[in-house]
């Protein structure tokens, strides 16, 4: 147009061109807003209709395409109709909410589903609205309090809502209006319970409803209701689980909790996990955990033992049972899996691992301490000595067993070894104070037993290996298991032992007995054990034991060499026979072996003296300069006896100690009844106690070993009275002519061979004397280095240096002794300070 004007201007030059505005500004059609908005709103509302009747063809009444609708909204907003449109849209939404939730919605049977579908419908509608009214949404906000629509600015507070929120508000309000929300929640919770119980439940519905609440900002409200409900529910459930599961209540409860936990956390993914965590922790686990764990484990171990005893050496790993049915059929593995489950569960709780680890440690402690205390001779019921002895042996075996079980369990638990440290517990148990006999001693005895007795060894080894049929332990061949047992003794108990010196003393003494009395079952096993000790404590610890082995080996060789030097032939054919007595000698190095009583005045019969002298001469000429003494206390011999009992021709071989034999020989030449003082003089034994013991062993032993008969001096001939066990000087002895036994070779146990009380006391004394020197040495070492030191510093340092168990009081006594001997002094000014005196 201007161009035309310009063209005109070209002919008519000075004419100004005026552009006139419309004298009447263009207006919108009067009903523009009404039309457009109603079309828009109707169009969007139609979506609801469509949704409700899905199969119907598209409603033709809405002519607007989405593009057109959008343009229309743009136009309306540009023409300042925003607030009005917002108002109307809100009304429309309200209407829509009414439409999806009609008044009769209350009567719906499955309210949860109904609400859910309607909500989906509404959300679809809302989505469309959001899309179509995007320009409106971008420029305006709904202000709740003033019922005003404001311009969208940067500063929007939480009282301003977007279209979407406004829409959801409408739905929520409608829900409350119809009082549907309570019903929805109740139905939902019922369904949740059903799901827990394992009934069919539409979990998607549960989840969808949860999300709906979330969208509608109802969740905080719901949570406040859900929490108490869930708590009550969980408590009830756990109560039922406890009551319903009978004997294995605790264990199955643990399993139950674990399953529920898995259920909750993996299947109700919609529930916030942290929240569940707290809930579970507070209401299910913590109040029960400790007690239940102990219960569970206490139930668990007997069961485990049972099961393992029933399938000895079974290589099948019962702990891997995966199906619940199989697990339930074998109670113990069920329990173990429960244990594992509990462990995993605990891992989810703050400090959970630690807590369970404490429980396990506590369990180990109580159980271990109980084992040790059981073995203590109770003062109330005086037991027989043998019974309490047996207790000590089983105590060690039980401890080992317990240790096995626990270590296996710990290995079983994922990352268990990281969290569970049982070492301090074992240390505590093994070093329990005031045990008589000490654990070190019991352990030495136990080792002695299994080394002496193949059967016992196998029994324990088998017991252990069968219970250790875990994949890591692998092969269970007899040899392996026995060495396994030994190494477990070392690694399980011995390493924790503080009183290694006591063990050493007792072990050495027993070892000496085994070696000297030919009670060694397998030299290899013996040596293996010593080498294990060596590996643990160093060469100094075992040098004497090794020396003992060397002696025995050397003696054997020396003896065979000696035999070759003897003239062949002679009395009884091959070998060294003089007067029918064959003699073997063992040469023992002083210092390696324990100290044995000496019987210097023992009177040997000629038949024994001869070979003895011959050997002495042989030895002395061969090894000049060596001093040799005969240890009569260690001698033992085989005495052939005939003419005893009914069968006069039967020859018995009596295995007995040298002294016993000497006593017996006294009866050979005489038919008289002999008494103790006579015998004592005859054999040249100085200790009366020893003679009494010998007589007791000969006359009062087990049936079938009583070679002598004891006649009490005060026995009345007519009355049958039990023979006294003490020997009075006036009591007489005679050969038991009624001696009878099925066996040919009879071992007459010398009471001295067995542990006598004094011997024990002596060993303990020797050990504690050594300890004093150790403390002294340690004190002087520290004082020498420090010159001056406070009492409070000195004591711990000494206790640390001295490996054996020592009380501060012991150290104090040694300090006093050193002060007295003027190795150190108290500081003149500070009583707590010591000075070293060099």
């Amino acid at each position: 147009m201007p161009r035309n004007k310009a063209l005109k201007g070209g002919s008519n030059s000075l004419r100004k061109v005026k552009i006139k505005p419309f004298n009447k500004p263009p207006t919108l059609p009067p009903n523009f807003y009404e039309q457009t908005s109603s079309e828009l709103l109707q169009g969007t509302l139609n979506v609801l209709e469509r949704g409700r009747a899905q199969d119907q063809p598209k409603d033709q009444s809405s002519n607007l395409s989405l593009q057109n609708s959008y343009n229309a909204v743009v136009n309306l907003v540009t023409h300042q109709f925003g607030p009005r449109l917002y108002q109307d849209l809100r009304d429309a939404m309200q209407k829509a909410a009414r439409q999806v939730l009609p008044d009769d919605a209350k009567n719906e049977a499955t309210i949860l589903e109904f609400v859910q579908t309607q909500y989906q419908l509404f959300v679809d509608y809302l989505l469309l609205c959001k899309h179509v009214f995007l320009p409106l949404d971008r420029t305006h906000l709904w202000q709740e309090d003033g019922q005003m629509v404001v311009k969208r600015t940067m500063a929007t507070s939480h009282t301003h809502y977007t279209l979407w929120e406004v829409g959801l508000c409408q739905f929520r309000d409608r829900l409350t209006e119809l009082k549907l929300d309570d019903r929805v929640y109740e139905d939902w919770f019922q369904m949740l319970e059903a799901d827990w119980a394992g009934h069919y439940a539409q979990r998607s519905l549960l989840q969808a409803t949860w999300h709906m609440w979330q969208d509608l900002h109802l969740l905080p409200l719901i949570m406040t209701r859900l929490q108490p409900d869930l708590e009550v529910f969980l408590q009830r459930e756990s109560q039922q689980a406890m009551e319903g599961s009978g004997g294995y209540a605790a264990a199955s409860f643990v399993a139950y909790v674990y399953e529920k936990w898995m259920h909750m956390s993996y299947q109700w993914t919609f529930l916030p996990k942290t929240w569940l965590c707290t809930l579970l922790e507070v209401h299910l686990l913590l109040p029960h955990l400790h007690a239940d764990w102990l219960l569970a484990s206490q139930n668990f171990y007997p069961l485990l033992e049972q099961e393992l005893l029933h399938q000895p050496g079974g290589p099948t790993s019962p702990h891997k049972s995966s199906t619940p049915a199989a697990a339930a059929s074998t109670g113990s593995s069920y329990n173990q899996s429960a244990m594992v489950k509990l462990w995993m569960l605990a891992g989810r709780l703050p400090n959970g691992y630690k807590q369970v680890a404490t429980c396990i440690a506590e369990y180990a402690r109580t159980k271990g301490v109980a084992l040790v205390q059981q073995s203590q001779p109770s003062t109330a019921t005086p037991q027989k000595k043998s019974a309490s002895n047996a207790n000590h042996h089983t105590m060690i075996a039980d401890l080992l067993e317990l240790q096995q079980q626990l270590s296996r369990l710990v290995q079983k638990l994922p990352r268990g070894t990281d969290h569970i440290a049982l070492k301090p517990v074992w240390e505590e148990i093994v070093n329990l104070p005031n045990t008589t006999p000490t654990i070190a001693e019991s352990l030495a005895k136990f080792v002695d037993q299994i080394l002496k007795n193949n059967k016992k060894m196998d029994q324990y080894a088998l017991q252990q290996s069968s219970s250790s049929a875990s994949p890591t332990m692998g092969l269970a061949s007899a040899n392996n298991s026995s060495s396994d047992l030994l190494s477990r003794i070392i690694s399980g108990i011995f390493v924790h032992l503080q009183a290694k010196d006591i063990f050493e003393a007792f072990y050495k003494r027993d070892l000496a007995k085994r070696l000297l009395w030919n009670r060694v079952v397998s030299m290899d096993v013996e040596k293996q054990f010593v080498s294990l000790l060596k590996a643990e404590c160093g060469a100094g610890y075992t040098s004497k034991m090794e020396g003992m082995f060397q002696d025995v080996d050397w003696s054997r060789e020396a003896m065979s060499r000696y035999k070759q030097t003897l003239p062949m032939g002679g009395g009884g054919g091959a070998g060294i026979t003089t007067g029918g007595v064959e003699m073997e000698a063992q040469v023992l190095t002083t210092g390696y072996w324990p100290v044995y009583p000496q019987y210097p005045h023992l009177i040997l019969p000629q038949s024994l003296k001869e070979p003895q002298e011959r050997f002495t001469n042989h030895y002395k000429t061969k090894y000049q300069g060596r001093r040799m003494t005969w240890q009569y206390a260690l001698g033992h011999c085989i005495v052939r006896a005939n003419g005893l009992g009914k069968n006069k021709n039967k020859v018995y071989e009596l295995v007995m100690s040298l002294c016993q034999a000497l006593v017996l020989i006294q009866f050979q030449s005489t038919d008289q009844k002999l008494d103790l003082p006579y015998l004592k003089n005859a054999i040249g034994l100085d200790e009366r106690d020893e003679v009494e013991r010998i007589l007791q062993s000969l006359a009062l032993g087990k049936d079938g070993t009583r070679v002598l008969r004891k006649l009490d001096y005060d026995a009345e001939p007519n009355k049958k009275k039990k023979v006294r066990s003490q020997v009075d000087d006036r009591d007489k002895f005679t050969v038991n002519m009624n001696f009878d036994s099925n066996q040919r070779r009879i071992r007459i146990t010398n009471i001295m061979w067995k542990e006598t009380k004094e011997e024990r006391v002596k060993t303990v004394e020797a050990v504690s004397r050594d300890r004093l020197y150790m403390i002294d040495a340690s004190l002087v070492r520290i004082m020498k280095a420090r010159k001056t030191i406070l009492h409070q510093q000195l004591i711990p340092q000494v206790l640390e240096q001295v490996k054996v168990p020592a009380q501060p009081n012991d150290v104090k006594k040694r300090i006093e002794s050193l002060i007295e001997r003027e190795y150190m002094e108290r500081d003149a000014k500070d009583r707590n300070r010591y000075n070293y005196l060099a």
Binding site: Q792, I819, E820, E822, R826
Partner: protein
């Protein structure tokens, strides 16, 4: 083991005692000397020596044993078995070298120190020899001296019975009676103790000074000898039984 340590300790003790005696007197003797010169009476060393000769042992005129000391006591008219002042006198004179005797050298030095050369002068200073005049450190030293002086020859410990008698005498006026009596009861009742060491002896006095209230006694941290620990236990037990 015991022999070399014995020899070693003997040597040590000798040096220690001589040192301590030097220390003990070096400060006070100066004062005394000063005062004696002002009194100007002078010390008749011949008289002092004569006095010593009278009480010296028959076999060895360089020392005076218990017999001689008893003689001296008779002259001074005090009871050597009951009167503590004898011990104080001997302590002041410095009879440290060997137990139960005083050597001539010690005697002469002692006389010079105390400024005495006659029985009369001895009697003059007798009142000042009461243990009540000793302050705490002096008394401690005297207390230790009592132990050392009553030893038998080379023995380094005292018999329990002697200790009970001696301690009752020495500490009678220094510590509360119930503490002293209960301690004596305790020592007598303990069968594991037959002899008392110097450390235990001296520790008891320190213990009495430092620990008046037994309830505050802490066995675990204290460096007291085990004897004291056990005494406290004994007292606790006794208190319990009374209740």
């Amino acid at each position: 083991m015991s022999n070399p340590s014995n020899a070693k300790s003997k040597r040590k003790r000798k040096s220690a005692t001589s040192k301590s005696s030097n220390n003990m007197w070096s400060s006070s003797s100066k004062k005394k000397r000063g005062s004696s010169t002002t009194s100007s009476s002078g010390l008749n060393t011949d008289n002092a020596e004569k006095l010593f000769q009278e009480i010296a042992d028959e076999d060895d005129d360089q020392v005076a044993g218990m017999e001689g000391i008893s003689q001296l006591c008779e002259k001074l008219d005090i009871d050597p078995l009951e009167d503590l002042r004898v011990l104080v006198l001997l302590w002041k004179m410095g009879a440290n070298e060997k137990p139960a005797q005083i050597s001539k050298q010690e005697w002469m030095q002692g006389c010079a120190k105390l400024n005495v050369d006659s029985i009369a002068k001895f009697q003059n200073i007798l009142p000042s020899l009461d243990t009540g005049f000793l302050d705490q450190t002096e008394f401690k030293d005297f207390y230790k001296f009592c132990f050392q002086f009553n030893r038998q020859g080379t023995h380094r410990t005292l018999d329990k019975e002697l200790v009970v008698a001696l301690i009752k005498m020495v500490l009678k006026e220094r510590i509360p009676k119930d503490r002293l009596d209960s301690f004596c009861d305790f020592v007598e009742s303990q069968e594991s103790y037959t002899r008392i060491t110097l450390d235990q002896w001296t520790s008891f006095l320190d213990f009495c000074y430092e620990c008046e209230d037994l309830s505050s006694y802490d066995e675990s941290t204290s460096a007291w000898p085990v004897l004291i620990d056990e005494y406290v236990e004994f007292m606790e037990e006794r208190a319990k039984n009374k209740k």
